[in-house]
Symmetry: C2
Subunit: 143 residues, 2 copies
């Protein structure tokens, strides 16, 4: 998915085009890693000093609903990244310092045979956490 496809998705669902939304997508696309709402806000405020948290959270929530970004959580904070590879179900190895990821092609759900008794499955999560080579050692994470 690229920026144009994402903007089309917005339009198709009746959301308006705004320069803030474009910038936000730009950031997610450019960074290609998990970002907290705070990190997104900080980057956006370089261009829009008065930008509010509400805008960031509202748009992230829309983006997530449309499948433009995918979210997870660690260290008590939600984080989001541009939805890589929307066609293929996948999981991630995640660097918990910088949020960079690597795709995992295998899904453990394939090994779960049939529906378990007395449980209606609504979702699953498989994530591997680690420290990437760039963040290894004492030096600050390379964002």
């Amino acid at each position: 998915m690229d920026l144009k496809q994402a903007l089309d998705l917005l339009k198709k669902h009746g959301y308006k085009y705004t320069n803030k939304r474009e910038l936000m997508m730009d950031i997610f696309l450019r960074e290609s890693r998990y970002l907290s709402a705070r990190e997104v806000l900080d980057q956006m405020q370089e261009d829009f000093p008065g930008l509010s948290f509400d805008t960031v959270y509202r748009n992230i929530s829309i983006f997530e609903k449309l499948g433009i970004v995918e979210g997870t959580e660690w260290d008590g904070e939600r984080r989001y990244r541009f939805h890589c590879n929307r066609d293929t179900h996948h999981h991630h190895i995640i660097c918990t310092k910088c949020g960079r990821t690597r795709e995992i092609r295998v899904c453990p759900m394939n090994a779960i045979l049939g529906e378990p008794d007395n449980f209606e499955i609504t979702g699953h999560k498989f994530e591997i956490y680690g420290i990437c080579a760039d963040c290894e050692g004492d030096h600050a994470p390379r964002h």
Copy 2:
């Protein structure tokens, strides 16, 4: 693991025995499901009306460090359950309404061959979410 083993673990690591800690373990053991700090507090205040959040959080943190409870997070809240089956690495199907679980014996890490390049793995998470038979339908979750 039973109550006595857990209390021994506390003692072995130099933590004191208190009736609050025993009650807290009692609750985790009795419930055998994921509980939020708020739920633990509510139950404990039936016996100790003045009990503070600090006590709950501090003890949960100790319990988690010692492997007495295991924690996860959903719907923006951390939750903890008595560490079932401490000897065998395992995962869970979790009912997101009542926190009850079922054990999954397979671990997807077995399918990850060797260390990935440029990533030092520090942990992983595999959880299946769903609604258990007791919570299905419109009626309130059976806690």
